[in-house]
Symmetry: C2
């Protein structure tokens, strides 16, 4: 608002604090604009610091800043999956989805740009960061389901569902966050049970899991 | 095999034939290597022509050739979805999936690189080509299901399933084409019915559709 009075810079921040502040400002900008429409000047202005200072922290320029912001968002996203191993597994999944949808809601455009690719700042490194989040999400799911050594059919089912959830998130943002997050969450959980049940007809490991989840095992 | 004797070049081809030949050679290379590992020299050698000839047809170089090859693959992929409007809709879906999986099998690495993004040749134009194929796939599905004016819940369900099918295709290639194509096809059709049935519990339009599909409507 008032770039002449960059109040946040008056306080002397530690290196870590300054880095966090710059990443926070960058994430905030990426949340509302596509990465290619965000300049280092924008980040400097939003953080109330000089452009050279941004370059001092991110000498690789925008690409480095984008990757660091993405890494920071990925860490935050992975925290959404942290859920105590208590109560019915599908209730735990619901709670993790609540946090995930809050994350999607908050990061909006930046989340879309990241997943949809085709961005000028998309590289094999950014793709690897996203793939890592997917891998971690799948592992959380196996852990909560009490599955060790998931076989190929169960793995394919879980990975397909995770991809479908991402697609749902992008459509949800596109459609003005409709249906409401709570309804979308329940719908996604029901879909997960439905596709597990389909796979149960083809895979004994998944059949045992579905039996346990529905209390018949 | 014998680049010294480029027999295909001996015959004088029309402009259209030559263009098709070069695109065919490029697609063949992209099917086995990531786009960034294919050079114009490789394409020239595979087609048995000189590098300048490749440049004459694709003056924009590799990026233009890649986009043209992608466009040609997208056209071929869309032909997979052409299916007469006869017989039970789920049987038609099975037949379209058979052709789709044959396409995935044939294009292998090129298909993965395209969908996974993160390639150096990925741009907003290539993303638009892929999105267009998804859009066409969804429209074929609505037409075969006899749905006009799909509502938001049915649309989200169909788009999520299409994304899940893409994910399954990539995993399928990764895992040495396991399970066999016929099993994967049946499994995907069952998943489609399962997620439609879940949505039917939340959406009257989908409920009517599922009723009709299961003969209870």
């Amino acid at each position: 608002m008032t770039p002449q009075a960059p109040t946040p810079a008056y306080r002397r921040l530690s290196v870590e604090e300054r880095r966090s502040q710059l990443l926070g400002a960058a994430l905030d900008l990426f949340a509302h604009r596509a990465p290619e429409d965000v300049s280092l000047d924008d980040v400097a202005e939003a953080a109330g610091v000089s452009r050279p200072l941004v370059y001092r922290y991110f000498p690789g320029g925008k690409q480095q800043l984008y990757e660091a912001a993405l890494r920071s968002a990925a860490d935050e996203l992975q925290q959404c999956f942290d859920e105590p191993r208590e109560g019915p597994p599908m209730l735990r999944l619901s709670r993790a989805l609540d946090r995930y949808l809050a994350f999607v809601d908050q990061h909006g455009t930046g989340f879309s740009a990241l997943l949809q690719g085709g961005s000028v700042v998309e590289t094999s490194r950014t793709t690897a960061i996203v793939d890592e989040v997917r891998r971690v999400a799948a592992e959380h799911i196996y852990r909560h389901l009490g599955v060790t050594g998931p076989g190929p059919r169960l793995r394919m089912t879980v990975r397909m569902w995770i991809t479908a959830v991402e697609a749902a998130s992008l459509i949800w943002l596109d459609e003005g966050r409709q249906p409401p997050a709570g309804e979308l969450r329940d719908w996604l959980v029901e879909q997960f049970m439905a596709v597990l049940t389909v796979t149960a007809g083809r895979d004994p490991q998944t059949a045992a899991l579905v039996g346990a989840l529905t209390g018949e095992g």
